[in-house]
Structures are given as C-alpha cells and as structure tokens.
Symmetry: D2
C-alpha cells in the first residue's frame, strides 16, 4: 500500500533528474509518484519520489549521493509507523484527537509519550496506555524547565515532537536542539494575531473568519515555516469564548493535516517556508 | 452564559410576534437573541428566542399557548446538559470524537450509552466509563434486532439518538418510533452517492470534492431533513481507500456541528427540510 | 419578491420587541423575516425585519420612533435599486465584475459613475455607458485631490461609495465626510498584511492561504468594521505575482458579497465591528 | 515567466522517467517543475514538466517519441495565448467574467468568437469587439442546428470550446467531433442534480451546500471527466431562485479555474476522470 519514499534537496543544476532517475532505473526500481520543484529565487531543488521494487537501502543512498551536487540531502524512508512525542498544557481537543487517530489506525504514527506542564490531562492519556510525564514549570527558570523536558524526551526515540496546544514559549536553545522536528499548532490564521489570546484579539477586531496554523517551530515566536492552515466563518454573535470553542475544531483538523503531511514525508523546509508535495 | 430558549412553530398569521413578545414583556423577560422565519411556500412560522429574567416555566408556556394559533408547538428549554445515546458499528472516528468532546466540556451533552452491532469498539467506550451494549444482529431478523436495540434504548432517558457511523438500515417502524430524535452522519455529500460505498462511488466518478451530510433519519434511506453538510477537496491520486480515510475528518466535523446545532435548540424540522437559526 | 425592510438600532431595554411588533401589528403589517441581536458588551439592540402589507412610510416611522428609547435610529427602506459610485485605480477585475452584475440584473444596484485617478479603465467603463471621471492626483496634495473627487461625487445622488481597488489612502476628513457609506476591498485577510503589497508580504511569509477583506472605511488604514472575508488555499509554487493574480478572484467575490449584504440592508455598524443579519 | 511544457501520456514501464530526463538533459534543458503520476489501476503514466533552455521543438519531440513505449502521446507546448470559442445561451455571468478576464490579461486566452442560440447576449459581446454569431435552434433538428454551429466553429482556429452556460444537450456525434476540446460548466455539484433545474432540485431536497462542476463533455449527459468543482453554503431562507442567483458566483469561479488549468496544460483525461498537475 505505502511505498518507500526518496527525498532529495540540493542546489539546482541541469541533469539532476536524469542522474537520479537513471540511477534508480539501473537499480531496477519503478518511480510511481514523483514530484520536483525548483525554487526560482533560491535556486534550490526539491524532489520526492515513491519507488517500487527490491533494493538495498544503503546501496541506493550511496549511489544517489555520488550523483548529486555536494551538500545534497538525500533520505530514503522505508514505510513504518513513525514515533511522535506530544507536549501539551491543559486543552484536550488536539491531544484527544491524536490519541484516537493513533490508536485506531487513522494516523500512521505511534504516540510514545506525552509531556505536560500541568497534570490535568493525565487521566485522558492514561486511558490510552501511553506514558504521561508531568513536568511542572513551577519555581523553575525556562532553562531549568526545558532541561527537565529534554531529559524526558531523551528517554524516547521519536521522529517528531508535536506541540499539541503547549502554551509555553520555548527558548532558542530548545528550538535549535530539535530543529526540524518540532511542529506546533497556533490558534490563529498566522500572521494575524501572533502571540497570546488570539481569539480575544479576533473578537476585538470583529473578523468574519478565524483560523489555525500549523508550523515548524523556530526561535522566532509563531514565525516558523507554515505547513498547513485553515479557517472557518464566524458571525457577530460569537464571543471571544465561543470563538475559542469553535476554533478548536479547526485547530485539531489543521494539526492532524500537517502531521499527516510530515508523517508521509511530503514536507521540505525551504528557508522560512515549506515545499509540500501533496500529489 | 447560556440562556433559556423558547422554540415556537405554528401556521403563520399576523400578530404572532406581537402576541409573543408582549406576553414575554409582561412576564418581565428580556429577549436577547431572536430569530423568526416564515416559509413562503408552506406558510409555516418558526421562532427561536433566548430569554433573560426570572420566570415559572409552566406559567410562561401556558400563557404563550393561549396566544398562539391552534396546533402551535411551543417549547421552553432550560439550560442543561442533554443526554445522547450513540449507535455505532465498527468505525472509531465519530465515536471517539464525541467521547472526547463530551468528557472535556467541548460539547454540552452527556453520552448515556453506546450500542453497537459489533464488539470491536467496546475497549474505546470502556475507557470513558460509558455503558457499552453489544447487540449483535447475527441470526436475527431486522425486526428482532431492532427490538433488542429498542429495549436497550428504553433503559435510558435520552434526548437524541445519534447514528455515529451505524451501518445498518433501519426499519420504517424504528424511524417512526424515534421520529425527530434520530440524527445520522452519511459519508457523502447527499444527494450524491446515496447508499453503500459512497467513497467507492466517488472514486469511480472521479469527483474533485467529497463530503458528508448529517440529517434526521426518516424511513426513506438517506433522504431525511439535512442539518449540516461540508466538503473537502481531493485529487486524482486518491484511491477509494484514501478517500474514505480523508473523509473521516469531514464526517466527524459535520456530525459534531449538526449535534451542536441540535443541542442548542437551533434546528426545526420543516417537512423534508430544516430551518436552522444559527445567529 | 423583495419586501420593505425596517432597521432599528438603539440601547437595549425590556419590551422593545413587544413595542415594535405591537405597533406593526396594529398597522396591519406582517413580519415575514425578523432578526434581533443584543450586543452583550455594549448592550446595544439591533433589529432587521421584512414586512408585508400596505402602509404609509412616514406614519410607520413616526409611530415606531415614539415607542423607542431616545437616540434610536430607525430606517424604513422601500425596495428599490440602490445607486453606487465606484472609485478605482488601474485594476479591472472588481470594476468589471460589478459592471457585468449591475448591467445584467445580478446585483440590485445601478452604477451612477466611476471615478479613477488613472485613465486606463476608461475604455472598459465606456462600454457600459457609465460616466467615467478621470481625476488625476498628479501635482495635487491629498486635500486638493480629494476635493476634486468630492466635487464629482457631489454631482451624483448615491447610496454607497465603493473603493473597488482604489489604491490611494484617504484622509480622515474624507472618511468622516462619507462615514458609513464607504466600502473598501482590501487584498488580504485582515488584520494580516495591512498596508501595501500584501501579496508580496504573503509570499515572503510563506502562508498556505490568502484572502480578501471588505470593510467600511474609517480614518485608520485597513481598520474599519469588517463586512465580509474569504480565503483560498495556495501552494509553495506560487510567486508573489501569481498570488496577486489568483487573489483577484477572492477580491471580487468578497466585494460583491459585502455589497450585496449592504444593498439588502443586512449590515449594521457596531463600533469597530458589524452586525450582519443574513438569515 | 511562463515556460514551455511537455505533456506525456503512455502505458507505464520502468525507466520512462530516466529515458525522458536523460534525453532532455542531453538536449541541455533544465526541468524546473516536474510531476509524474501512475494510475495504479490502469497502469497509465502521466507526466508534465516545465523546461528551460534553447531547443528545436521538432527535434525534442522526435527524440522523446523514440524513447517512449508505442502509442505514447507527447506534446510540447510553447507559451502562447490560446484561442477559445464560447457557446452560450442567455446568462451573462460566465460570459461576462471571461470577457473581462481575457480583455485585461487575467486569463491567458483570446476569445475568438461567441456563438449563441439566442440573441440576447449580443450587446454584451459587441462591447468587447468579439464576433458574435446568433445560431437559432428554432425549427431545426438537433443535427441541423449542430451543423450550423459546427460550420461557424470551422471558421475559427480554436484550442478549446467552452460551454459557458450553453443550455442545449449536444449529440453524441458533436461531442465526438470535438472530443477533449469541449469544456462545460454544470450548475450543480455533480453527480448530484444531473440534468435540468438543479437549483430547483437542490431547493426541494433542502441541501445546505450548492456547487458547480466543470467537466469535459462526452456523449453521456453531465458524466464527462471532472476538472474542477466548488461549493458554497446556503440556508433555509434561500428560494430556488435565490439559490440560482447565488450559484452564479460559484459557476463562474469554477469555470474560470477549470479553464486556467486547461490553458496551462495541467489537465490529462484519464478514462472518465482527470489527472491534474497543479503544483
């Protein structure tokens, strides 16, 4: 059902596709779904291809690297259930949605652990026989708190760390340590309403649409590369509170969509943007 | 936060609103959110109003009824957590979504019980300390099976019965017995793809959008009054199977939306249609 | 087909609806579509009702005003084709869309004139036998230029002034002079990307959705009460230029939607927000 | 800005991409945007690639054909404004939208002529200095009428024939004659509401969403390969007539979107479906 995926990223030059596809053809592999994009500004080349056939991963990787420009990043990802670790605070909707999906084969991932700076979601996580770690930030500096969290993360082998409504700002050091692995859901249509209380901001502004944004986390608050966004229409009778309640549906849908894209290896980081091959 | 709601439905005639609002004013009540609609074809009058103030429900009801045309239906609904009972088969996404919402104050309802014709969702329901009833249809006629289900339903006091991906066709007798209380989620954008395997049908037709429809159940399969619908864009690379997986997100979102409208007493049945005051 | 509309806005108090509806009932009028909203923060009451029956407008207005709190604003709007005047700069898409709609009974309005600070759209406007006024801003101060425009506007009797991609900032004096009559279309999902070159800003940020916003114009740039917004999904391959081209479809659709709401007297200004009765 | 495009369609086999990309590399061409898809059921291979560099079209075509399986279809499309011919009946919204777009560089096409079975849109077409042909169907059999239309079409060299709300059913012979060149806009979300009066059907059914579908025309009414679809939410207060008016906005937007995809050579017909590379 699911095929192995090759992801390649490098500076563009003529003949890259010919080199790659010839190499794969000589290895007797079939390319069944293939997309390339060259950023016309950065002149960066991105490729995602699904392959069929029998192969030795290391041999393929080695032969591809030999044909690519220096500094090329090549990945060959075999189909497997990826491991994700969740950071949460108090809200249950994104966490609950991911627990249901992952425990019922609706998302191709395993939740290896949940870390929270509060204890209120422990009951929910326990129901799904998933390790829950309470890491309070009380009386700790940001560095001390993140050290605790990092230590817990270090116990697990995980592909992605998902901020499923984790309401603490992360230090630059932390975001750098897990660069490219941290995916956040922000409860607004970025770049509108950066920061705290976006639904209150939306209410005050009288917008007719609210949204949510899932993005990679970088050191700049709410400014990392965007993976997915969506919106819903709202009306004058919504209060800030009812906006926040309604918005939960968009938040969990957008986070799940972004995660699925990442879990299927469809997402490249391109500077402060993403390239997404969803075809 | 939530106000009492008055719902009125009757044949239209001049002065209805004057009579109602004068009556409520004399009872010292304030109308804070009020919507009326007259169906220009059926000449039927629909009204939903939220009231503020102190009152004796029975007195209000009696005095309103005295001012309305014969045959008028008046309801005065006090704010309370409504009780819902779920019928499911094997799929977890709608059930799981409702379990999370109802256990975390994201939906103003209590799930009093879950009935299934299979046993596979028992584990999930057990996690939430909710009664699960396995009512197999094996070796039973439709009538016999529905008798079992009705008997279980009879043990509970419930406001709505939600077919949260219950994959059996219901008899006319059953739909009549619970008329106006049965809400279904159908996995297509009705009236496209009535009946079985709508995602297979959608795949064969090559549509660029799939959808879901939540409706009241009547004896005519998939033809009851529609409460909510939504859609998502899909592409040529989707298989029937991946359409079905993607569609689960729309199904659970549409069902939750329809349920919220019903739980907030915003929905009237108007022949084979609905009138929805979502303002 | 279209009924007379009564719009009322005043401070909330008990009995308003009873007073209004009794008054209308005594005038032998039927209310066929009626919506009320009380802003829970400002305690402001808004009502829109469609009436059927025979009446003397002035008598009705007078009797309603007598029953309402001091300072109430009451309007009784008889069905008629409203007059709109357009301000444009160089882009044809919104202008063309409105010209087609208004000349083919798709929008219930007459375009009485088009004013532009450039001459390039004259050909298009001439095709539709509509007065075109070229009012260059060359060598004029903002005040001088707006004086020219005001003078032209003064020659026409118009209900609304539509900034259909008019790319000049208006002075506070100008916005105050036409307060409540100026409707703008901004080429972003406000409050994201205020000001110039929103598509360039959207491209730089790497958003996955672009949008448009139609709002009343106030002295604060892009901060007036929002009437309508919509969005569309975009992808990594879009350049700033192709975003701008794609966005034109949203711009013209959102502007038309906002205008239709205003032309049907469904919009109230509520401080910096709008109340819209679209039911 | 716009690059030449190569479209290839053939039975899938290993090495196709290697062969094609090697051939193009040897011709010193750069592939800047490249997408491939293999239909897992039909085992059909589809490829669209944008190329940069200097080349002799015939040489490239010949060398590509030599490397592809027998029966492969290869096209090399140089950037140019394509020619479209419109068939219309009485409604102005799609026609007007296309006239504005094509005359203001918002769509990369030239409208070479408009044919109508009524005379009422002549005025609008004349404004844009476009040939208008009145071809009445009065007193003619379907064959005779289509003969007249075919004769007019024959006078023009056109890439696509667009049924921009042409309300006559076409014969099988006619659809076969212009196979792959006929694009229709149907005023419903197909396959819901096939045939006449879809808005009346939608009203009767009480749907909460209406839509439009643009598709290639085949001999089976409303059953050709779908290119684009979209929808909008509607409410209980809509009449069949107001649904039809609101739906015009979706119709023209969906038709323009489908046309743009076709004009940019992004659409392949795959049996009764389409493959669309919109990346």
């Amino acid at each position: 059902m699911i095929n192995p995926v090759i992801k390649i990223e490098c500076d563009d030059q003529k003949g890259i596709i010919a080199n790659i596809s010839t190499e794969l053809f000589q290895a007797d592999l079939n390319l069944v779904n293939n997309q390339e994009f060259v950023d016309p500004v950065s002149k960066r080349f991105f490729m995602r291809t699904e392959i069929e056939g029998e192969f030795q991963p290391e041999t393929i990787l080695k032969s591809l690297e030999a044909k690519l420009p220096e500094g090329a990043a090549v990945e060959l990802i075999l189909p497997r259930k990826k491991k994700i670790l969740l950071l949460v605070t108090k809200e249950a909707h994104c966490l609950g949605d991911l627990l249901i999906r992952c425990s019922h084969d609706e998302m191709n991932a395993e939740i290896v652990a949940v870390i929270s700076n509060h204890n209120s979601l422990k009951d929910l996580v326990d129901k799904f026989n998933t390790p829950f770690h309470f890491a309070s930030h009380q009386d700790l500096s940001r560095e001390e708190h993140e050290k605790v969290i990092s230590e817990i993360i270090g116990r697990y082998d995980c592909d992605l760390i998902v901020l499923a409504k984790y309401m603490r700002i992360l230090s630059e050091a932390f975001t750098l340590k897990y660069k490219g692995k941290l995916i956040n859901i922000h409860h607004s249509f970025l770049p509108a309403f950066v920061g705290a209380n976006p639904y209150r901001q939306a209410y005050e502004r009288g917008v007719k649409i609210i949204g949510a944004t899932s993005h990679f986390v970088t050191s700049a608050l709410d400014e990392g590369p965007i993976i997915a966004q969506d919106v819903m229409h709202v009306e004058h009778h919504h209060s800030a509170k009812s906006l926040a309640l309604a918005g939960k549906d968009i938040e969990k849908a957008v986070l799940a969509r972004a995660l699925n894209l990442a879990l299927e290896d469809r997402v490249f980081i391109n500077g402060n943007k993403t390239v997404i091959f969803d075809g």
